[in-house]
Subunit: 304 residues, 2 copies
């Protein structure tokens, strides 16, 4: 299977600590890199992954709190110094463009590439990016400012051809794509062989959803159809349920409830409040609801 | 003596690497902290020093290139989250205020303290900060955009009283401050004792100068009168002298020439180009001109 991975660049919340960078991730899918959120230190963390900067074409920002976007200008500036020429696309809620339009001319004179801004409507569930093999959908979330998550969904792929059957029926290579696309084969003596007999099914498409920052949303699972791996913020443990409600964040238990209702395979926790010096409490509370839960840490890599 | 120290938070140049943060320092003088330059990751590095955030009242920015100021907004935001109430003063060339006036309302709603901006005239040698024991002077530098260094100069202190002489002449405690300030003592029988006989001289005032970024300035030493410790950028070694000239930076040898001409005690190098994976070459070339030269590294602490 093609690689579909999530690199954790940071998993802390608003108050940076010596233990965690703010929230940011890289999603790798079929050779392309996508960044989700871009806190202070993003370029440094991206360097640590040793991933190729040139493969990053799109950055998705969930909302305009500093811990999710203060690293953008440094990244844009450094890409310029490194001689980038390919356009960089930034998908973000309204407001960021005006700021970048001021900062880029001020700090990135003679930038050798284009920064293309795409304003995201955080209130609607829309496809905001699409290529041959992947689409990215917004997930409206409930936070103090306009916020959305992002769902990375592989497209259906064609079935695999069965080499043994092709040989048996002596089917010419020129027909293989037709068969994979669903066309039956007719033998020289007029016998029809169903394409399904000549192929094995494709792997089911995988999907990764990033949901941060958000209050607990009891119906969120309805937007997570087909998601294998869910990252859901878990700023607090049960001891701070009221804080979570007040600041529109979630507890680890609430994150796990979403994961259970969405029937995902795997839940990733993050956006930890700095008050938890040991995030084990978050993991334990989540696992009471959804067993296949994992804590994220900087430089972790998860397969979707 | 009162502590007068320089903490190196970062010593790299524009292109951050996994080895160096961009240029930034903390100057500690008599219990107060001053920041000079504030690149991306400043708040993280400041945390690593374990210095008290509350003692930092003034930030001095040399020029508006990103590697010298991208960390400001994160620092301002974090101070707000930590409940700061004391004003924060930012001294910087024209242009930064307009940007902060846009970013602070956007990212730091309900900031519980005031950010007071002081526009610095980078072309003149002026005192821009003063308290009872310290003054900070600008040092006009030669870079591609308006740039100045900063000189932290202790004020003269009063001489030390000689306990033995005070006892010998049975001088009342109430007279001690007068004597330290230069008043002679007249004994009950009319004999005049010079204040100089009753005291030992104060330590000579110390001074630290931060000069970055700048081309080699042959007359720079004229502005460094009384400086003990000089930080002078050394972006390049001799092999890139032309690059230094082109981009208005200095070589390590040029930094050492300034140090020698200014007759400082100690030279600190920094703002290393990312092309030098071993900065020993910079140190060696500088020491050919000025022996008491040191490389700075993140988390180094130097006594002035």
């Amino acid at each position: 299977m093609e690689p579909f991975k999530v690199y954790i660049l940071g998993c802390g919340s608003a108050l940076p600590t010596t233990r965690h960078f703010p929230s940011m991730q890289i999603v790798e899918c079929r050779g392309k890199l996508f960044m989700v959120d871009c806190g202070e230190g993003a370029q440094l963390q991206l360097r640590h992954t040793k991933l190729s900067f040139g493969k990053l074409g799109h950055i998705f920002i969930s909302h305009l709190h500093g811990d999710h976007c203060f690293g953008l200008i440094g990244l844009i500036s450094t890409f310029g110094l490194l001689g980038r020429t390919a356009a960089l696309h930034i998908h973000a809620p309204a407001g960021l463009k005006g700021l970048l339009d001021k900062m880029i001319p001020m700090f990135c004179r003679d930038l050798g590439y284009e920064v293309i801004f795409h304003e995201v409507d955080t209130k609607r569930h829309l496809t905001v990016y699409e290529d041959r093999s992947l689409q990215v959908e917004t997930i409206p979330l409930d936070h103090r400012v306009p916020t959305c998550g992002y769902l990375f969904r592989e497209k259906e792929t064609l079935p695999h051809i069965r080499r043994d059957m092709i040989d048996f029926y002596q089917i010419p290579v020129s027909q293989i794509n037709n068969i994979k696309s669903g066309m039956d084969w007719t033998t020289p003596d007029g016998q029809t062989v169903s394409w399904e007999k000549l192929t094995t099914p494709a792997e089911p498409p995988r999907a990764y959803a990033y949901c941060s920052d958000t209050a607990f949303m009891p119906t969120l699972h309805e937007l997570l159809d087909g998601v294998n791996t869910l990252y859901h913020e878990s700023t607090y443990a049960d001891d701070n349920l009221l804080m979570a409600q007040k600041y529109h964040h979630s507890t680890a238990r609430q994150a796990a409830t979403v994961a259970r209702n969405a029937k995902v395979d795997k839940l990733l926790l993050g956006h930890y409040s700095s008050r938890y010096t040991d995030e084990g409490v978050l993991l334990n509370e989540a696992r009471e609801v959804f067993a296949n839960t994992f804590l994220t840490q900087e430089m972790d890599i998860f397969e979707v």
